[in-house]
Amino acid sequence: MTQDIHLDVEKARQEGLVVSVGRRISNGKLKTVSGPRDTQDIVTDAVELRKYKEIEVKGLRGTPSMFILVETLISFPQIFYAYSKTSGLPIFLGIKRALEGLMLILGMPRTGKSTKMAEMFRAFARHGIPSFFVGCKEFDPTIVAGGKSGADAYTRFDAAGRAARGRFTYASMQPGLPTAVFNWLMQKFPDVPPSLIVANWLLAIGQDGGASDLAQRFFAGSSHQLFLKTGFKGSFKHLDASLERLKLDRDTLYSTAAARHIISQLASLEIDIPKDHPAQLDIGSLILEKAAVYYDPSYMDTAHLAVANAGLFVNAVVFAKRRVLPGRERLIALFVDECHQFPRSFLLQLVSQCASSGIRLIMSWHALGQMGDEWEQLSMAQVRVIFGALAGSKTEEHLVHLSGTKKDYTLNFGDNVGNGRNEGVTSGPGGVSVSSGVSSSQGSQFGFAERDVNVWKSSDTQSLNYNRNESVIAICPGAELAHVGASPIVCESGGLQLSSAEIEHFTQEALNETARTFSAVSDRPTTNLLPPMSAEMAEKRKHFLAVLNAAAAPKANV
């Protein structure tokens, strides 16, 4: 697939953005950047941006630069995505409009989805937008480093107008990690009627039955009634114990079994630390702090319980966002990685309603096929990115349709040569006549046959799968700096935005921040931490130990 894209500067200007390709806009102080890291860093750094009038972003391989006024970048915060493979033009995604209609990322494992999401997580954090990342798989250092490095950067202003940094925190269900703790029951739901809390809880754990499945709604209704009676006070362990003690008739036991089992499973994994413990995550406060938060329900360790936990976390985020930052103008970012391990009905609701709540949803799947029959509803995104597709899969078919058709003119030509020879002998009363003749003809013709062919071909899929730094992006409708045409664009990342050394460094820093994390304490006694004792005390210790060891000797036992 080859396409030559161009930025529709006029459309961008109509939206209020001042941008130019190939020539400067102003005479003010210019900052020139090239490469993905520097480009991302400058457009997401409100503090640094204010030192300049105009930014020049160099394209790939010496292609013309893009010039953007700083006022534009401040009024319309952007995230650098990648470069167009053919034109070298940098592609930017505007937080206000281009990402308003959600972002869908598709790609097989190890194609770079999570890395791209981590880069975007970092960019959102640098913008000072509260960002929440739910990675359903396992604790991922790339994401931790993305969030941590983004939050740690002095790229925003505090209330007093000074350069400020943000806060990064993470909670992981992976055993053995020091971690903050997320407990849905510890979130604040002031003035929310109990019925709504129960309804949202059922939705978050994937037990609400959806809008169309009436049979499932029977079970959801029965569970709703049960949990309205019990309420959600205390911990899941208490709730589980209350449910155990509750006398329920046979029908109710049957119809509420799924929801009760989830309570029981959540209780088994619940870390019950006090509400005021510094490691306890309060999502509302984190949104107000504009924090970057990574939550890892760790499917690899907790299996299907990760699904319910991921749902509960996102539910808490949405609930808290609507409470502490109401309105669609005040934004937060919500990343859901590995969406196939997320409650389906809840995701459907998120996809359709996130934009109106000011939530920028970025979600990743392996393939469209994972979405099942609801693929159409689940893949309704303004920005769609494809990192790879299996040959012959639904995702590849989607790519073909997404790219549309083009007129193709097939050349055909012909060449013909004809030779003839005749000989005749005529005999009659008048004598005999002999005739001989030779004839030859030659012709050539050519022409073009016009036909519609697919822009995207199987060989393009193979090329996409082969090159790890390539992806296809489609932004429809175009917005802000992403007025780059209706056709998808093959992009080149241009390199990593965080090196592996930086990933290791920031992950280690995050793990070492123990002030607000909780660690399952080992049984190791603290005696080794005590200071060395005097010689006299060492002698006494020997005597004490001799007495106590003798008393503890097995022979004295029963």
Binding site: E270, D272, P274, T526, M533, K540, N549, A551, A556
Partner: protein, 241 residues
């Protein structure tokens, strides 16, 4: 060994009964589900065998029993059992909820013979006399046990040291329990011998928690220097909800 005083008994305890009496004099009381884990009580074969023998001893007046609101019967020494074993007379009284919790925790943890040694009253007195090089045992108002600790922090029983520990098992909130532990240690440190033991890093406290979460919660509190927290989930039966 136990100073058996069964001279005035019409029917002398059998070998099995003696084992159970001595076990009771160490852990104060037990449920059969916890006691049958104790290696020396393997002689009863099964938990049911242990229960039957305990019931017979209750009928014979050697043991007494109470029935908590939930869970199994809690056996303890009777007055006669106390006389025979030389255990403190308080062992025969009806247990309060906290004493019941202590019994249950002690009988559960006593099964871990590589980690714990629950001393009888004479054994403890002897050990305290030996520690202080005196003939009169120090009076300690709190139950003390021997806890085997690896100086390297490893989980193996190799090269362990026996440390003297306060055994604290009370049905309180984590915060209250942590505060109680602090108060106990602070008061015990007024005694010279125990202070010296503490300075020698062989004195500490073992706290019993009813669940792993409770333990985690407890560990976030300010606890004395050498503190171990053990989980005994059987205690949950004693917590009235």
């Amino acid at each position: 060994m136990q100073p058996w005083n069964s001279g005035d008994m019409s029917d002398n305890p059998t070998r099995k009964e003696k084992c159970l009496l001595e076990y009771s004099s160490r852990v104060r009381g037990f449920q059969t589900r916890t006691a049958h884990l104790f290696p020396e009580l393997n002689i009863f074969g099964t938990e049911d065998g242990l229960r039957k023998c305990s019931d017979r001893m209750v009928e014979g007046g050697l043991l007494a029993c109470s029935k908590p609101t939930r869970g199994q019967k809690l056996y303890r020494l009777s007055n006669k059992g106390v006389q025979i074993t030389g255990a403190p007379p308080a062992f025969a009284t009806q247990p309060s909820p906290n004493i019941a919790a202590w019994m249950l925790a002690a009988s559960r943890l006593a099964a871990r013979v590589n980690d714990f040694k629950f001393l009888t009253s004479p054994e403890l007195n002897k050990a305290l006399c030996d520690l202080g090089n005196t003939n009169t045992a120090l009076k300690v108002p709190i139950p003390l046990i021997l806890r085997k600790v690896s100086p390297t922090g490893s989980n193996t029983s190799m090269g362990t040291e026996a440390h003297l520990h306060v055994f604290l098992c009370e049905l309180r909130t984590a915060e209250a329990l942590a505060a109680r532990a602090g108060t106990i240690i602070e008061k015990l440190m007024r005694t010279e011998l125990l202070r010296e033991l503490s300075d020698a890093n062989i004195f500490g406290i073992t706290i019993v928690a009813p669940s792993a979460d409770f333990k985690n919660s407890l560990k976030t509190k300010d606890l004395p220097s050498e503190t171990f927290v053990e989980v005994v989930e059987e205690l949950q039966d004693l917590i009235v909800s």
